[in-house]
């Protein structure tokens, strides 16, 4: 069984219906540890040793956050700057993350069409998130395609939220149980599109 760590970074959870539902689901999943970064470090004073220990203990790191300026909220960036130290995450004697996976689960304000080559933002989510991807690769990690939750604010109103939560739970469960085809997940532009394909439900059931 793979161990999964969800680093959740949202400064205003109370305003995000989608994220609230998602972390509620993640919290109850056995084998999945959820860390509320803004809750744990409201003063941005990240305990580096503790965070590094958390990374050592897991197989897959999930970063769950809203898209802020085409990237993550500041604390998650601060987390990277401090925790992914030389001598720990990279460097001659720092292969602590070697072979682990990184997955981004991002809630977006706009619809998916904005994140297309010809859309409003001229780039898809994965391209915009390339700094994360590059960071993962630099640390010897496998970068999985981001899982996007588009028009997140309307998800509940539109009746999509339940499906999103189910998909998210399935995804986390599949990673944990080893039933997610990591190669497929890594090569897709967006994980949403290949989700059903990449999860081997039979393996999961068996």
């Amino acid at each position: 069984m793979a161990r999964v760590l969800v680093l959740f970074a949202h400064p205003r959870t109370d305003r995000s219906v989608a994220n609230t539902a998602l972390i509620a689901a993640a919290r109850t999943m056995p084998g999945v540890e959820l860390v509320d970064l803004y809750g744990e470090y409201p003063d941005f004073d990240i305990d580096i040793d503790r965070e590094q220990q958390r990374l050592v203990d897991i197989d897959c790191l999930v970063m769950q956050h809203p898209v802020y300026w085409y990237s993550s909220p500041a604390l998650l960036k601060e987390w990277q700057d401090l925790v992914l130290e030389h001598g720990f995450a990279y460097g001659a004697d720092g292969p602590a993350l070697q072979g682990k996976s990184l997955l981004q689960v991002a809630t977006c304000g706009t619809d998916r069409d904005a994140y297309r080559k010809k859309g409003k933002y001229e780039n898809d989510l994965r391209t915009l998130f390339s700094p994360f991807e590059q960071t993962a690769k630099f640390c010897g990690m496998r970068y999985l395609a981001p899982f996007g939750i588009f028009s997140a604010e309307d998800a509940e109103k539109d009746g999509r939220l339940d499906k999103i939560v189910t998909d998210y739970s399935r995804l986390l469960g599949a990673i944990r149980d080893g039933s997610l085809d990591l190669e497929k997940a890594a090569s897709a532009p967006l994980l949403n599109d290949v989700l059903d394909d990449a999860i081997d439900e039979e393996a999961a059931a068996g």
Partner: protein, 623 residues
């Protein structure tokens, strides 16, 4: 040679006895008294006439104490206390005088002598009570404040008592100047009463005017000279000169000093005066108590043992009953009632003066006065024991017994804040800004009034009183913030709230790490050391002043904070209520580790793969 020897004996006795009595938890007053007994009647080093001289000298301690009390009392505070002063103080003196006079008359004395004894014994010991209240930190409780009002009224009442004493002299009057107690030589003797009154009033007016218009500019000059000892000398000069002046016109020197203190209480030099004179007060009061101890005539005490003890115990009982009844009438909380009743039950140092004066003026027979003075000394000796009684048996039990109906608090709060000093005030403002319903409790009426003026819902009351907490809505409150200044009270309060309102979260202000452990044990949920964050902020400023970049300074402080908070949880298991050997060793280890933590520099630039200031680019496989 003789002086040094005496000084040596007095000081040695004081140092040894007070240290021992402090260790035993008996307070300094009892220590001084025993020191006096040891060097006087027991070892016989000093005694007789010498003690009398010392006593006169030591009375100066009482004078200085009253000056200091005056200094802490601003005029408008006295004005606010006027009902308590007149009501509580007036009733105490009147009722006790009547009761004791009646008792003495019942034994067969003439009413004149009985009245002299009655009113003299009605007075309590300002020196012992105030010293004890201050030492134990009870001065600001309701009982302490009430005791203070009564003592203040008594100090003022001495003046008319001195005035009527000669009128009560029925025996062969001894000329005042010739008598032993004739230290009270007023220059106004022989003048008609209305003229004496006029001169006294003029003197008081002169003191007030001088305090207002002369002393301040003088102090400004003296302060400008920047010589500390000169300032101290000037401060003492004020006390001595007012005392002298009042003495000259035949009014209590202590009262004069008190008046001078009040006049100067609003001056900008108040705190400087206080800190300069305070050590003198302590030492001179100590001397006073030593002289009381040394003056005890054991020969007489043993020969008239039962009579003297009987008088002493009788006086204490009568005074205590009246005090307790008054506390009941004035609706004091249970705990304060007992503090008030037990604390003021003794006879006071003015008895030495008044009885001396009475025997000199022929109002009382000399042999009787000796026995009375011994009885007074015994009541004073018993006072610390009464305070201990209160502390051991009354104070701890208050929690379970609510004596009086709760104060009016119109609306219970979501957040109840106890203590609105430097800390509670800030919390109160934050909560108000966030629109929470708050109730603020404090036992300092001044502070409460000031907070009210600024629009904070504050209520006067002792937050350690269970019924008040109930009325403040602690039953429904979500959070209780304990922010009292007094460490011991704070811990007791937290314990009480944790026991009686288990649903309420308790946020507590700790004095230091050790207090933090105590509060934890008492049941607080969230605790912060009051000075910790402030000290870190100052440390950060220091680093910045030393030239460190603001962000680096921030990082250093964060590392320190994290390490220190860890230290708190590591040392917890070694904390046994005191600092054991293991605890000290652990503290040392943590300190060594802290040096390492602070020296490591996690932001030196090694942690970013694309850093532009990296000294070791070859680490980066991309280049």
């Amino acid at each position: 040679m003789g002086f040094f020897q005496d000084a040596f004996i007095y000081l040695l006795a004081a140092v040894v006895a007070v240290t021992v009595s402090h260790r035993l938890g008996l307070g300094s007053v009892l220590g001084y008294l025993f020191a006096g007994i040891a060097i006087g009647p027991v070892l016989g080093y000093v005694g007789g006439s010498e003690t009398e001289t010392v006593k006169h000298f030591a009375e100066f301690g009482v004078v200085i104490m009253l000056f200091l009390i005056g200094l802490e009392l601003e005029p408008h505070m006295i004005w606010r206390m006027r009902w308590q002063l007149l009501g509580l103080g007036g009733l105490q003196v009147a009722l006790t005088t009547i009761a004791l006079t009646a008792a003495v008359m019942a034994v067969g004395f003439a009413w004149q002598a009985a009245l002299v004894i009655g009113m003299t014994l009605a007075l309590s010991s300002t020196a012992i009570v105030l010293q004890t209240l201050n030492e134990k930190g009870w001065m600001r409780s309701r009982g302490g404040q009430s005791a203070f009002s009564v003592l203040l009224f008594q100090d003022i009442a001495v003046i008319p008592m001195l005035a009527v004493l000669p009128l009560l002299a029925v025996g062969a009057p001894v000329p005042l100047d010739g008598g032993e107690g004739g230290h009270h030589g007023s220059i106004l003797e022989g003048y008609p009463g209305w003229f004496q009154t006029l001169v006294i009033l003029a003197t008081i007016a002169a003191i007030i005017l001088a305090g207002r218009f002369l002393v301040r500019p003088a102090f400004r000059l003296i302060a400008a000279a920047q010589m500390r000892e000169l300032f101290t000398a000037a401060a003492l000069l004020i006390v001595v000169s007012t005392a002298l002046l009042m003495d000259l016109v035949g009014v209590s020197a202590a009262l004069g000093a008190f008046l001078a203190g009040v006049v100067l209480s609003t001056s900008e030099y108040r705190h400087a005066l206080e800190s300069d004179i305070d050590p003198f007060k302590g030492l001179l009061l100590g001397l006073f108590f030593i002289s009381v101890g040394a003056g005890i005539d054991f020969g007489l005490l043993f020969s008239e043992f039962f009579l003297i003890i009987g008088i002493a115990v009788g006086v204490i009982l009568v005074k205590m009953l009246i005090l307790l009844a008054l506390a009941g009438i004035f609706r004091m909380p249970w705990q304060d009632t007992w503090m008030f009743g037990l604390g003021l039950a003794q006879a006071g140092e003015f008895a030495f003066v008044l009885f001396g004066f009475a025997s000199a003026s022929g109002a009382l027979a000399g042999s009787l006065v000796e026995i009375l003075i011994l009885s007074v000394a015994v009541t004073m000796l018993l006072t610390p024991a009464l305070f201990i009684l209160f502390e051991r048996y009354v104070a701890p039990r208050t929690v379970s017994s609510a004596a009086r109906p709760a104060d009016e608090i119109p609306e219970p709060g979501t957040v109840v804040i106890a203590g609105v000093g430097r800390v509670g005030q800030i919390i109160a403002r934050l909560m108000m800004a966030e629109n929470y319903k708050i109730v603020v409790l404090d036992h300092d009426p001044n502070l409460v009034e000031r907070m009210r003026e600024t629009g904070v819902h504050s209520y006067y009351g002792d937050a350690t009183r269970p019924d008040l907490l109930e009325a403040a809505g602690l039953g429904e409150a979500e959070v209780f913030v304990a922010a009292l200044d007094d460490q011991a009270q704070q811990t007791a309060l937290v314990r009480h709230v944790a026991e009686h309102f288990p649903k309420c979260r308790i946020v507590a202000r700790a004095f230091d790490r050790h207090h933090l452990y105590e509060l934890e044990k008492a049941g607080a949920h969230a605790i912060e050391r009051e000075a910790f964050e402030g000290a870190l902020a100052l440390g950060k400023r220091t680093l910045r002043e030393l030239g460190l970049h603001p962000y680096q300074a921030e990082q250093k402080v964060r590392a320190f904070r994290r390490h220190d908070i860890q230290t708190v949880s590591i040392l917890r298991e070694y904390w046994t209520g005191g600092m054991g050997k293991k605890y000290v060793t652990a503290v040392r280890e943590r300190l060594d580790e802290l040096m390492q933590v602070m020296r490591s520099d996690r932001l030196a630039g090694k942690n970013m793969p694309d850093k532009d200031f990296s000294p070791s680019r070859k680490e980066d496989p991309e280049r």
